[in-house]
Amino acid sequence: MLSNMKIGSRLLLGFGMVALLLVCVGALAIQKIVAVQERQQTFYEHPFTVSRTIEVVHTCISEINRNTKDALLAENARDREIALAQAEENNRKAHENLVLVRERFLGDKQIIDEIAKDLDTWEKRRERTGKLLRDNEKVKAVVWHREQSKGIIAKIENEINDISQFAMKKAAALNQESFEIKDQTVRFTYALLTVAVLLAIVIALYITRSITKPLATAVEVANKLAVGDISSEISETSQDETGQLLRSMERMLQQFRNMSELARQIAVGNLSVAIVPQSEKDVMGNALSAMANNLREMTREIIEGINVLTSSSSEIMASTNQVATGASETAAAVSETSSTMTEVRQTAQVSSQKARNVSDAAQNTVQVAQAGRRAVDESIAGMGRIQGQVAAIADSIVRLSEQSQTIGEIIATVNDLAEQSNLLAVNAAIEAARAGEQGKGFAVVAQEVKSLAEQSKEATSQVRTILNDIQKATNAAVLATEQGNRAVEEGVRQSQEAGEAIRQMGESIDESAQSALMISASSQQQLVGIDQVSLAMENIRQASEQNVTGMRQVELTVQGLHDLGQKLKGLVERYKI
């Protein structure tokens, strides 16, 4: 029954029993302590108080006795009265205490009444003593006192003594009682504690055992599971938590077994198994399911791929055959190209030589062009000088023209003079005619003057004609110099154009020379390049031969690839999708 309880209930029960025992022990101890305390209360209230109070009574009685004696021995009335009053006072105090004693005393209370009666008796006797003293019968008083007081005092002291002894006995009895109660309590407590400890140990052992044993089983199963062993069987099942744990582990093992079986099926190639995950959170189940699905899909694709591979490898084989044939043809063509390259190389060599010649010629041409340029510059300078000289000629001709003009004016003056001379001659002839015979000689002079005037006129006419010719010539010269000037300007312009043309030609020739140089260099590089090309063609030829060899190997390889495809096809067919 206990083993079917929950671990919590079991722990609660065990600890509850121990706690109950401890409560019993505590209750017992408390009860006993209360009992001891009652005894002590009794002891304090009764024997102790009685003993202490009766001692006070005793003291009071001693005081009364002393006061009485003081009264007897008093010299004057005043002292006597004080002593007597003190005795009365002590008497009263003794009575009061006696009341307390009577109240607390546990024994026979008659004895206390006896003491009170004795005290009253002794009081009456002291009154007599006092009366005697007041009556100044001191001797009688002393005698009275001696006779009457001593007996009663002794009697009272005895009675007090009895009471003290009774109280002592009672106290001892109470003490004994307390001791017994203590012993009893200690014994009980020891016994109960022992029982509780034993019970606790037993319960702890039992509970521990009931937990650790299934846990050990679970740990063992889990350890085996950790190393992949799922062969453990769990038979023992209890209803508590450990039992639940073991049942869960059993379910887990079962699940593992199922999964393992599925994985084993997949491993041997049966991909058609249906894997149902236990729940949404079944990572492994889901993963297995996905894995199976993926494997199915993958295997399907692989099969398709292998089909493609085998057909492709067949096509590759066919193509490879064609490529091999092509490579052979390429090798032949490359050989032809190599020989052609040799011819091209020779041509390029000739071309390079020609280009060098052209470059040299172009350098010479550059020098010639520079010389031509210098010549044109000099020609331009010469033209400039000619222009200056033509300008000087024009100036001279203009001056000449001006001077001709001056000459013309002079001639006009001379002509005018000739005209006037002619007029003078005419006047002279008229005067001579008027003079008649005396004027005949004068007429001859007039004739001469006229002749001179005519000659002058003729001469001026000739000079004018000549001058006209000169002026015409001068005008023609001016025109000619103008035209010459324009021609020279044109010549200068044309020389400059020619110079510009020659300069541009020189630049062109420079460029041509540079181009020729570059062509020469390029053809040199071309030659080198063609050498390299020849070398490369040789390499290509070797490479194409290697190509042919390689293609043979490729054919073999493709054959192997084809065989591999067939093999893969066989392998994949083992998988059931």
Binding site: L423, A429, I430
Partner: protein
């Protein structure tokens, strides 16, 4: 310089020929008259020198207003005011204006003195009176009126006396 020599030879020969010419005054002296030949509007005229005071260049001609068109103006000849007549007006010759080379032929008589405008005064020479012929019928009335005769060289010789005595030249007009 052979051409220069030829030219000099030619000139020298011409001068020699001129000097060797026989003077024309070999005829009778009484029959000769002296004329002054001048040109006017491209035609040549002459006037007997007996009526001519002098010839002068035409200078500083001052036109006179309110005179007939044949009066060109007046000139100052050595402090003497002299009127100038233009014969072209009478001879219906084309006018060429007055140039700086124009000349003045001063006609002078006891009662009259004025100047004739001439383009140029050519010469004064003697001609035999017998060489003068009567006027040509082609000449107009006015010239015929002043004409003395025409020489063999078709030189028109004007009669100075008639010109001087012609009252048509006296200008008496009031404006």
């Amino acid at each position: 310089m052979p051409s220069g020599n030829d030219e000099q030879q030619r000139i020298l020969r011409a001068r020699a020929a001129a000097l060797a010419r026989v003077p024309e005054e070999s005829g009778a002296e009484g029959d000769r008259i002296e004329i002054v030949e001048f040109s006017l509007a491209s035609e040549r005229y002459a006037i007997e020198s007996a009526y001519i005071g002098a010839v002068h260049p035409l200078k500083e001609l001052t036109p006179l207003p309110c005179t007939p068109s044949f009066v060109l103006g007046v000139i100052n000849l050595r402090g003497q005011i002299l009127s100038i007549i233009d014969l072209r007006e009478f001879f219906d010759l084309p006018e060429r204006g007055v140039s700086g080379l124009s000349k003045v032929i001063v006609l002078r008589s006891d009662s009259m003195e004025f100047g004739l405008l001439a383009d140029a005064v050519i010469e004064a020479r003697w001609i035999p009176r017998s060489t003068l012929r009567p006027a040509l019928p082609t000449l107009t009335d006015v010239r015929e009126e002043y004409l003395l005769g025409v020489t063999q060289e078709r030189l028109v010789v004007l009669d100075g006396g008639r010109i001087l005595s012609d009252r048509g030249f006296v200008v008496h007009e009031e404006v």
